[in-house]
């Protein structure tokens, strides 16, 4: 079973996995900006998160409310085992490919 992951989905999944703090819409979008440099709207992040959850790569639970959020609760995401193994799978495939890269040095 190989999950079909889009580029953005993979990135967001990775972000959720590496985030130390709570991962929810706003923080993921900020982390994306911090790590990737580009901006994507929160609505796009929500869509991706929802899709990842549907694929079983992440799970969510409702978290606490804060004042900045106007008293609204957060939906906090965590990577599942499948999500983790999918990431590892992708990574190892990539590494295999990198290993095949001719190790020639033309700089001299």
């Amino acid at each position: 079973m190989s999950q079909n992951l889009g580029n953005l989905e993979e990135t967001v999944l990775l972000i959720v996995a590496v985030m130390a703090e709570e991962a929810y819409g706003y923080t993921v979008s900020e982390a994306y900006y911090k790590h990737m440099g580009g901006r994507i709207s929160i609505s796009a992040i929500h869509t991706v998160l929802k899709r990842l959850e549907k694929k079983g790569l992440i799970i969510s639970k409702m978290g606490g409310a804060t004042a900045e959020r106007g008293g609204r609760r957060k939906r906090i995401f965590e990577v599942t085992k499948i999500g983790m193994s999918t990431l590892e799978h992708i990574q190892s495939n990539r590494m295999k490919l990198w290993d095949l890269m001719p190790k020639l040095n033309f700089s001299a």
């Binding site: 706003y26 929160i42 929500h46 900045e68 959020r69 609204r72 609760r73 939906r75």
Partner: protein, 877 residues
Amino acid sequence: MTEDISNVNPPKWANRFLEWYCADDLLDEIQGDLLEAFYYRKEDVGLRKAKWWFIWDVLRFFRPSSFKSKSKNSNQLIMFKHNVKIALRIIARKKWSSFVNIISLTLGITAVTLIFLFVSDELSYDNFHQKKENIYRLITDRYSPDGAYDYTDAGHQLPLAAQLKTDFSEVKGITRIAKSERYLRSGSNSQEEKVLLADSEFFKLFTFPLLLGNPETALEFSKNVVVSEDLAKRYFKSIDVIGKTLEIRQDEVYTQYQITGVVKNAPSNSTFQFDLIMNYDQVGYYSWASNYWGVRIDEVYMLLNENVDVVAFNDKVKHHWKNYLKSEVAESKEYEGEYMNYRVQQLEDVHMAADVSSSFSTGDPMDSYILSVIAVVILLIGCANFTILSIGRSALRGKEVAIKKVVGVKRKQLITQFWVEALTMSGFAMLLSVVLIVALLPTFNGLAEKNFQASDLLDVQLVVLLPIVTIVTGVIAGVYPAIVLSGVRALEFFKKKIRLGGVNLFTKSLITVQFSLSVMLLLGTVVVFQQIDFFRTKSLGYDNSNVIVLENTLNAEPEKLEVFKNVLASNPKIEAVSGISNSFGRGGFGSFYDLPDGTELSYSVYYVEPSFFDVLKIDIQSGRNFNTKLAADSNSVVVNQKFMKGIEKHFQLNDNLTDFRNAGLANPKVIGVSGDFHFQSLSSKLKPVMLLTSKSKKAFSNVLIKASEAPNSELLSYLEDTWYEIAPDSPFNYAFMNEDIEAQYKTEQRWFAIVKSATFWALGLATLGLLGIVSMSITGRLKELSIRKVLGAGAIHLYYIMGRQFLLLLIIASIIAIPITVHFADDWLNGFAYHIDLNPLTFVGVILLIVVLIITIVFVGTSKAIRNNPVSSLRME
């Protein structure tokens, strides 16, 4: 500062909008995230930007996945789906009546859409000019001596335009415009092109963009012309033609003109259509008149300053002519009221101003009105079919309604149900009518004299209009079932206190209306056809068969025309040749003769040659033909009988007409009287005619050639070769006289085609509807028919029983339709000086035709049921 900001909230409306559309269970995460983002962003990027960002995010979340789920308020959606499902099932179950319904609505929607295309195109004329608000045409209201309004025209004297600009500071720009045709030569063949004569300010007023060239100077210099994109491509295969020369034929010779501009082709909804624009002043053609206030040739368009009060300006120009037109001023003294008044007319009104005589083709608002009425009639007939069939079916639907009511369905929901059903059908009809419209477009273009393309259907207006027409159609068609059927009382229905379905009074009146419209349209078609046939077959007093009309482009070299005629004389296939000032149907001129008793005789003048009478087979009833050898005959005339009748109190054959000064004649002698002939269309009364021989052959603009048999290509190429051998520089242009004459009835032919198609549609719709209702009513009366059959009724008798009610309706419809038709037909026919009389037999014939149609429909619709074994239907329950 930060203190202030921390308490600021995002735009309230955006937040509320989010709360309105967002599903409750998603609100926490979405609104929370957005508020949090706003909270931090206002510090990072500033309040203003953060607000915009928030709004943007709210809009980005506005998508189905975040919407409130309909499940909480789902009744409507579920009911809607249910209704559509029921509608589709009914369409599938009642295939025949659904087919009739959908076709009826299709025809209605198609008619309305096509006619909308026509009307909106008519109304869009000249609206592409950017300065249209401030462009006006100068027109003249003319009055009769007794003070009554006479007519309005748009022609003016050539010096007027320049004078107006000098006299009125309100006039920002002005141009004279006239249209004409000119021969253009490239290589050896010459072709006639549409020419617009204008002044140098033309492009200042009108939005005809130049692809190449400078609009301010393009028409300024001598011998310069602006050509259309299309002409450039035709003659030079490229639009890069600035500086190239064109040879344009004018005053019998070709002159070289330099191209100084290429203009985009005029849109089809432009009053001005042209291939070429030339400058008025350079057109030597009119130089004799350029300072002459005696002849009206051109139209004057002006651009007024933006703040001009048009009412006040009209008052100022009203009597402007009094300063310049001396003879008119003298004449006006004898008038009781006004003599004439100038007034300006907005550019956008020019196309629809059918009442202003102008050389530019105008549309007639009447066309739009009549076509719109036809469209609405067809749409209503279509909707009537739908209603009739719905009523016919309502016995069946009544049970459904009653049960639904018992279960607790509200009336409003039932109304919605029936309307959704009607709308579903009209939705199908819309799809079909798109196909139909595309298929009919070429035919429609022919009728409407338009040039619509299938791609025009994507026009914004139409894309909006089609669904609107569809919805309106659906709503109209669904009114009856929605209102009446939904009102059925369940208890009364089950107790069989009310009878639904079959043919009730309402249905009967609808059918009667349909019949009346069909009878009217059918009668109209027949009357128009008879009148056109009358035009075609009425003896005109001359014979135009096998007559070829040549344009005389040899005016400057009459001796060449003589050579041409001499050569033709040797061809046995050519009976006779004559020059004529204007071939019939191509204009001409008339005048008045003041008789000794003070009355006026209005007559037309034709310059001819002695052979004229042979070419057109017109008899000289008394007196003699012209004799070219007699010098005196240059002051002699032949008149027709009508003319003779007009002067018989004062003059006889061989008398000299005293005090007659016209056409270079002085007291001419009447040497012959010819038979009468209709040189004008039959819509005008036969007119007195004076025929005279021309002193100079220059008076002939046409040459008539009578061939001994129908002209074939061999004869035509013989003529062309001969012509070019003698006059290689003069274009050869021919037409057939009988086609010229037929062309006079183009408008009538077109109306015939339009009425014919409308009739075809209306009759088709009525037939469909009737077929539907017949098969409906037979289902309701199956038992009755079977019992009658068992008791011994014959098939003929049963057909009679089924058909008699419709025949009765036809009689009522005829009683309504015939007087209305007679009224309109009389009106129309009275517009022609010569017309048919309405023949009662025609009416009888048309009604018999419909009777036969009804009988056929009843026969087709009922024969299956009547031929059935009565047992099968009696055993039904």
